[in-house]
Each structure stands twice: as C-alpha cells, then as structure tokens.
C-alpha cells in the first residue's frame, strides 16, 4: 500500500500526468471566473476547436517522439482546407473524390518529407520547412490568391452537435483517433520502434529496426492527419481561407511539449498531448472570454507556456 502511494506520487511528478493537474486547476478557474462556461453551446464549441488541433497534434507527437519536428503541419492544414472546399463545391456528391485526393496529397507530402530526411540527408527541421514553403506555393498557385469553394451539407453536419449533447462529429473522429494513436504508441511494434529511434537512432538501427521505414510512416501519418484536419475545417469555416492553418505549427508543438513529450525524443506520448491540446485551446478561449486585447492575449499565452516549462524543469532537476 505504502509503495503504491509512492508510485502514484512519483507518476504525478511526470510532466505527462502533471499537466492534467494544471488542466484541472485551469478548468476550475475558468468555470468560476466566467458564468456560462459549462453551457452546452460553449463546451461543444470548445471541444470542436480542440478536435482540429488534437488531430494535427497526433502527427506532431509522433514527429517529436522521433526527436524531430514537423513544421509543414500548418500549411498542410491550409492545403487540406483549400483543396477540400474547392473540390466539394457545396455538394456531398464530391465527397468521395475529395477524400481520395486529400488522402493522396497527404501521403505525397509525408513521403516527400521522409525522402528528404532519409535519402537527401536533410535535417528534419529544414526539410519540413522547405516542404512547408513548397505546399504554400502549391496552394497559392492553385487558388491564385483567392480561394473559392464551399462546404457540403455532410461536412457541415460533422461540426454541429447532435441533439442536446455537446458531442460533434469532429469530436467523435478525434476521440477514435486518440484511442488508435495511444494504442499504436503503447502497444504495437511500430510504436515501440518510434520510441527506440527517438531515444537513440544508432542503437535502434543496430538492433535491426528499419529506421527509414519508421521515418516514412511517421511523416506520412503526420501529413495525412494534418491534411484531414484541414479538410474537416471546411465544415467549420464554410469556405476556405489561406491563413486557416497559420497558428497550427506553434500550437501543435506547444501542445506536445506542454504534454510532457521531450523535444529530444524518445519520451512522452499522446496521453500528455491530449491534455496539452485542451490546455492550449482553453487558454485561448478563456483569454477571449475575459475580453483581453490581442496584444495581452499573446503576452499571457506565451508567458504561461514559459511558466509551465519552468515548473517541469524544476521537476527534472529533482531527479
């Protein structure tokens, strides 16, 4: 019994669990500070916003677990949004076509990243940055700077909550992906291999792991999930915007790191990211509710992330 309590205490010290305590504290503060926080419409909106970031953050978690980073997430989301809206053109009949094209585009982007990193030996940071610029070029040329297109009834219905609940289709998709992501990370050989490669690339290679394959799969997962997050955003925005993805690089990286995944790779997981995502979304939402100007919102948001990092660091120092 004694050891069990100690074990729990020890675990709570880990960032990926500690972040849930912070999340709980923040939630309590938000509920007390703003009346109507728990209202159905608000909670539904909050979870919906979290879903888009959460889906994109799955790929980012994989990339950071490898010890890398994926900077092409933001523009991939925008590409998904633009492609989606322009192919759908307001009709459900085009859904299948849009799905296939989006999936192919995602695989292409991910494979491109994997190729650059493994065969051209480019640093992931710079490769995904370059890829990000290429994607931006593609959607700029595709739209000629003026995106068109319209959501279809089905896509819009995914963003509406059913009946009286707070659950939206997008949220359900996220939850399914969360379960799959956590299962893949914890229980499958592939997941284990990602951790191994992230912890020590050379050791992983010499123990017989096909590192090239791991890299390709991780970047394809990241690109495909990001582009689908952008596709789902079509239902939310109604049409497409060229800056719809802009914040997603910073926010997904912040969510993953706040969630306790180490930037050096090999430690962490999606369970922490889940809380990181909720924390980021609640922070932005709360600062909007209390009506702070954009300037103040940015200062506080950045400041809070720094404070969280300092809290984690104190933890690490005590080990």
């Amino acid at each position: 019994m004694e050891t069990k309590v100690l074990h729990i205490k020890e675990n709570l010290r880990k960032p990926e669990y500690f972040v849930y305590i912070i999340l709980a504290v923040m939630f309590t503060v938000a509920v007390i500070a703003s009346p109507g926080y728990l209202q159905r419409a608000h909670m539904s909106g909050l979870l919906k916003t979290a879903s888009f970031l959460g889906i994109a953050a799955i790929g980012q978690t994989f990339a950071i677990l490898l010890g890398d980073i994926d900077l092409s997430v933001a523009n991939t989301i925008t590409l998904g949004n633009v492609l989606g809206a322009q192919i759908l053109m307001g009709s459900d009949a085009n859904l299948g076509k849009a799905f296939v094209i989006i999936l192919l585009a995602g695989i292409l982007i991910g494979a491109g990243n994997g190729f650059g990193i493994r065969y051209l030996k480019l640093d992931p940071f710079i490769m995904t940055l370059g890829m990000s610029s290429v994607i931006e070029g593609v959607f700029m040329i595709y739209t000629q700077g003026a995106p068109k297109g319209k959501t279809s009834p089905f896509m819009s219905s995914l963003c509406r909550s059913a009946g009286t609940g707070v659950v939206t289709g997008v949220f359900l998709i996220w939850i399914v992906l969360v379960v799959i992501a956590i299962f893949v990370m914890k229980k499958t050989t592939f997941g284990r291999n990602v951790f191994a490669v992230g912890a020590n690339k050379t050791a992983a290679r010499f123990s017989g792991i096909n590192t090239t394959k791991i890299y390709f799969i991780v970047y394809i997962i990241s690109a495909v999930l990001a582009i689908f997050a952008g596709f789902l955003l079509v239902g939310y925005t109604g049409t497409s915007y060229l800056d719809v993805g802009v914040d997603y690089n910073d926010n997904s990286i912040a969510a993953v790191i706040i969630g306790g995944t180490a930037v050096t790779g090999g430690r962490g997981g999606y369970l922490g990211t889940l809380a990181g995502v909720m924390l980021m979304v609640m922070l932005v939402d709360f600062l909007t509710i209390v009506n702070i100007s954009e300037a103040g919102r940015q200062m506080i948001q950045g400041g809070i992330i720094i404070i969280l990092l300092l809290l984690y660091n104190r933890d690490k120092a005590s080990h």
Binding site: I69, L71, G116, L120, K121, L122, D123, F125, I126, M127, L129, G130, M131, S132, S133, V134, I135, E136, G137, V138, M140, I141, Q144, G145, D250, I253, A254, I257, V263, T264, S293, E294, A295, G296, R297, Q298, M299, I300, Q301, G302, G303, I305, I306, L309, L310, N313
Partner: protein
Amino acid sequence: MTKVLKLMKEEKFKYKYSGVIMAYLFLVLFMVFIGMFDDSFFTGRNLSNVIYTAFPLVMVSFGQTICLLTHGIDISLGMILSLSNCVCIVLMKPDEPLGWVTGVAAALVTGMVCGLINGILIGRFRLAALIVTLSMSTVYGGIALYLLPMPGGSIHKGFAKFLRGKLCGIPVVFFLLLIVLVIVRAVLNQTPLGRKIRAVGGNYAAAYATGIDAVRTKIIAHMLAGLLSAVGGVFLAAYMYSGDPTIGSSYSLRAIASSIIGGAVFSGAVGDVLGTLAGVVILTLINNMLNLLGISSYFQFLLQGIIIIAALALGSLKNVNR
C-alpha cells in the same frame, strides 16, 4: 597558388569551409542563371534593391547563426525585430534634430534585453531553446502589438535619409553590412568569446569541464543575436518610414534556412557568417528573379521551398556515406 591548393586539400580546411564554399558555388550559379535570362539583373539599381531587401534578413541571420553555433536556436528573433521596430518608431521624435537617438538606442537595448531573457531561460534554466523561443516569440509579438496596434508612426527624416542614402553610388547600408560582417566574423572566429561559443555548441559537457562559463556564453550569444535583430528592426523602420508589429514574423524561419544553406549545422559549433550571407542573398534573389522575369509572385513560395531543399541536398550529397 600551389600553397592555396594545398591548403584547400587539407582535411581541416574542408571540414571548416565546405558548407561556405558550397553556398557560394550555388550563389554564383544562381546569379549566372538569372543574369542569362535578364539583362537588368546586373544593374546598379537592381543590385542596391537586393541589398536593401536583404539587409534586415542578413542581420537576423547572423544572429541566428550565432545561436546555432551554441547548439541552440532562436525562433523569436523575427519578433524581436518587430518589437525593436515598434520601440524605435514609438520613441522616435521626428521633429527634433537629434530625435532619432532615443528611438534607436531604445530599440537596440530592447533587442539585447529580449536576447538576455531568452539566454537566461535557455542557459540558466536549461529549457529547450526551440519551445522557449517559440513561446517568447508570442510574448514579444504581443508587446509589439500593444505598443503599436496598427502599422504606422513616423520616422526622423534625416535618419531615414541617411540609411537610404548612397555613398559613391553605393548604398550606405552596404558599408554598414560589411562593417557588421567584419565585426561578427572577427568575434566568432578570432576572439576567445567566439571559441567559447563554438566550444559550448560542440560539446557542452567538455566545455563546462574545461572551465568555460557555459551559461554565460549562451546568454551572451543570445544577447548578440537580439542586438543584431534589433539593428534589422531599426533599419526597417527607416526604410519603410513607419513601424509594423507583424513585420518580423517570417524572418525567424528564413534566417534559419539561410544559416543552414550557408553551412551552419543544427548540432552546433560549425558555421560561418560568411556562408550565412550567401544563404541570405540566395533567398533574396528568388524574389528578385521572379520580379525581373515577370513570373507571378505565387510561384515565390514554391521556388523558395525547392531551392532551399535543392541547395542543401547538393551540399549533403557528398556526405551520403557518412
């Protein structure tokens, strides 16, 4: 001549300068390519345009190279540029004869203070540079937005005229760029501080064990980077005659790209600002080329991405067997 050739064959020389040489090789090829397609490329007017456009990015990239040398990174440099740009405009007194002094001084101090904060968080508290500077970037951007909610303000006319002026037909900024290049390069390659920066970046534990104050070195490196970015911010204030709180948002990542194209590496210690300069010019020429050739600016991003990847792939191909 034979002496030079012999020197170039030495392993140490290759290791130190291969990145820089590749960058200049690529730059020359690129310039010849543009020159072939367009006669107006090698005109004084166009080249001074290139210098004006490149100058702020050169400053930020030099700063970024210093951070990369310490095995760090600074994603907030772009927003430090924005912030110092706004500080400069807000404190500028356009009507007094020496009204530019307070604005410029405050902007430079702002840059150094921002660098100091980054340096302390990264050096003293050992936080991951990437995420710290990412978050601080938001903070600096917020402060800039608070100081100057809308792009605008006015600049001291005499000061702007000086920075936009020409000396013997060559932009004053070009000389300024050379001076900064010489100073930064001397600091990084010839002084104890430069050696300390490289030592800390190459092997933190070993540098610490040798008695180098690693924390202080990192802080100084980030302060230098902040100061250089502030110089870029001040120049942009003079060049655009106004301030803009979001002007720096794209600089950080482009600065990283140009540093890496110029031969710096993410693992620290290796890199030279001379190469970084070539990297910046390559990136700047992409837009210039599109303008000259009359290609839609929508191709700018596509080409930028492809060229970044191509330039680096070229450099790393010979190392495939490592």
